[in-house]
Point group: none
Chain length 421, copies 2
């Protein structure tokens, strides 16, 4: 099954917004065995939209359109769909009910504009949008014995994703498709992409020559993901091949892998803390709350996360964490001594089982020759001892936060599992 993704929006054509919807949709469609062959972006102009629909509907089995479903004048996708398929708009009771619920939950009134959103093209099915007022729209016909699908989704990424996950994927899994595409993502951290590649060695030897397997290296500031993809008509073959490659990768770079499912390290760490019934406190300076934010992004984190001290100023390090003034003066706030005092202070004052601290220079200014931008001291204090580590996470502020938080969470994971640090 071949698909085209059409994204609509002037904001994309002027470069104000990076098109993340395309990549997300392409990934999801691939997992469903739908092969994306083309992606097109056009502006909020009726002629351009209709032209895109026209050329796509003739050539592909699935057309997925995002954007232009909102309530304002520049949202013209629904109108264009009606024109293209020669359909009128009819009220959809489910959509209306959903809009009423969403607005009343947030103490908002139902406006005329909102009521307009409850109208959908005749013969289309509405797909529930749990997070916004514009529903997904699905049209399905059988053309020469083959199913053809037209899917229209809101452009707001989280709304689009919610509809794909909760509505489209369950629907499509009930359709009969004969190809199996299996993916496995292995997440690594603490090693750069080139070294990871060196350690894994000859890719063609790893994947075999039958062209059913692919391996992608996906680097980011948090580490490199390895994605294995198997395409086959035989499900058992695909599963065995996937397992074989996964085992081979583990045998080579096991020490850098923190997960073989596509979840963040804060979720991995959270599970371990819950299993071990341990609690944690954090003392953050340079990361300014980013580590705590990542930990509390996980639902249920209140089971193990007690509190954090975001001690940006020196005085707050003294007041909240009992860091000594003399250490601050003697060694500076970015020092092993201060990091250790922060971790111990956080552990004692919070009564947590483990405390971790970080103090550093996030940049882009503030470095010195002895302590260049990016310099960081990290300390971990648990029931047994205190360890400290130095690292440099680079000169770009937001990248610094990404890298530093990942390092801290991996340090915590290794400490919890008794792995070498």
């Amino acid at each position: 099954m071949k698909a085209e993704i059409i994204t609509i929006g002037d904001e994309l054509l002027i470069g104000q917004v990076i098109n993340t919807n395309q990549a997300y949709l392409a990934e999801q469609f691939n997992l469903l065995g739908i092969f994306v062959e083309k992606m097109t972006t056009v502006g909020d102009a009726p002629t351009d939209i209709l032209q895109a629909f026209h050329s796509s509907w003739n050539n592909f089995d699935l057309i997925c359109v995002t954007g232009g479903l909102g309530p304002t004048h520049d949202d013209i996708t629904k109108k264009s769909i009606c024109q293209f398929f020669n359909k009128e708009l009819v009220e959809d009771k489910d959509v209306l009910k959903n809009i009423e619920e969403l607005l009343s939950n947030r103490n908002l009134k139902l406006s005329n504009v909102a009521i307009e959103q409850a109208k959908i093209p005749k013969d289309f099915t509405s797909l529930k949008n749990r997070l916004g007022t514009a529903p997904g729209l699905l049209y399905q016909i059988n053309h020469n014995g083959k199913n053809k699908y037209f899917l229209s989704l809101p452009g707001v990424p989280y709304e689009m994703k919610s509809i794909i996950e909760n509505e489209f994927i369950p629907f499509f899994k009930n359709q009969k498709v004969n190809e199996f595409i299996l993916h496995r993502t292995i997440r690594t951290t603490g090693i750069i992409e080139a070294h990871l590649s060196d350690k894994i060695g000859d890719i063609s030897k790893l994947l075999g020559t039958d062209d059913t397997a692919k391996l992608a290296f996906l680097p980011s500031p948090r580490g490199t993901k390895l994605r294995i993809t198997i395409r086959s008509n035989n499900e058992t073959f695909a599963k065995n091949k996937l397992l074989e490659i996964e085992n081979e990768i583990y045998s080579k770079v096991n020490n850098y892998i923190y997960s073989n499912s596509d979840i963040e390290i804060e979720e991995v760490v959270g599970k371990i803390l819950r299993e071990k019934k341990l609690t944690i406190a954090i003392a953050e300076s340079c990361t300014g709350g980013f580590i705590s934010n990542r930990i509390t992004n996980i639902s249920g984190s209140s089971d193990y996360f007690l509190q954090s001290y975001i001690t940006y100023s020196n005085q707050s390090k003294i007041n909240l964490l009992n860091v000594s003034k003399s250490n601050l003066e003697l060694f500076g706030s970015v020092s092993k001594e201060v990091a250790i005092q922060m971790a111990i202070g956080a552990k004692n004052n919070s009564d947590a089982d483990i405390a971790i601290s970080i103090t550093g220079i996030a940049g882009p200014t503030g470095g010195t020759i002895e302590k260049p931008i990016g310099s960081s001291w990290i300390a971990l204090s648990d029931s047994e001892n205190v360890i400290s580590k130095f690292n440099n996470f680079g000169t770009e502020r937001l990248l610094f936060k990404e890298r530093a938080s990942q390092y801290v969470l991996e340090l915590l994971r290794r400490n919890l599992l008794g792995l070498s640090i």
Copy 2:
């Protein structure tokens, strides 16, 4: 001048890579007065590439292609260009020299593969690539008195950017183009898109009927951006028209606007705090560090941000912020009384001029009938008084954090500026 951007690469079609090149190129072209009307992505397949060239070359004045210029077997863009324009490959001495230099700088030898890269399609101009071996390629013809351009660039983002900045922009600024494209982004928060649209009213009245102006609504959990775009041959006219529309929007929804440049509210708030020489502390429960993280994303935030208390557990609210046990028992942790005590505690214990607190239920679990998921109490304590506010930020954890942080930062901004709250 109308343009299409064509990006080439299988990695884009399976969602492995987010296409950031498109947005970068679109932004740069807009600044040059080149209007991007379409973007297309195809895989590393000769037929698809040629088809994309064909439909584009007929319809646009500038075609910009990225990707597929590398040295390996799957890089087929140059071959496709030769086929499309019916040109042969000829060696380019400048490119060869550049490749030799790049390789010798890294102590690498000139290989046959590298020499192949020095060949470019006849009648094309090479654009120097300072960071890699594949040059940019530019073809220019005069068609019915109008200039037409075909630009091909490597897909590696930093190489592509380097060629655009150092080669294409200086070249294009010497070409005579008569169009001016102006953009202004006005950022609003605290009002949903549909209501904002209602308040702004008749768009055609606002923009006029001469088709030079556009207004886009760009919603996100942090608020809705309004983007005005003016296209005109007359620069003064364009500037005046932009100002006129901006003023009209201000007159209607002034109360929801926090910036008329494209910056986040934490930067707006940071500037005000610095100007007023005020310091701030935050007490976060449900947002778990997200507000502090946003504030510290701004370089120089240590000038006004002292510290935060991430008090997730009840005990930490008592210990760090002097919240009374009786209030926690009587009213619960998500209550007006506790929020107020948190703000006062944070202010007193940190010595900050202003403290803001938030306590709520971020979801997706943990709600009750009286306090459904999303419920939040926020309090602000400054030198004069304490205010408190209730809000519901919805049931999805990460969206909750986005909305809540935006609300808190806007409350702070309004308080700092003495606006109604």
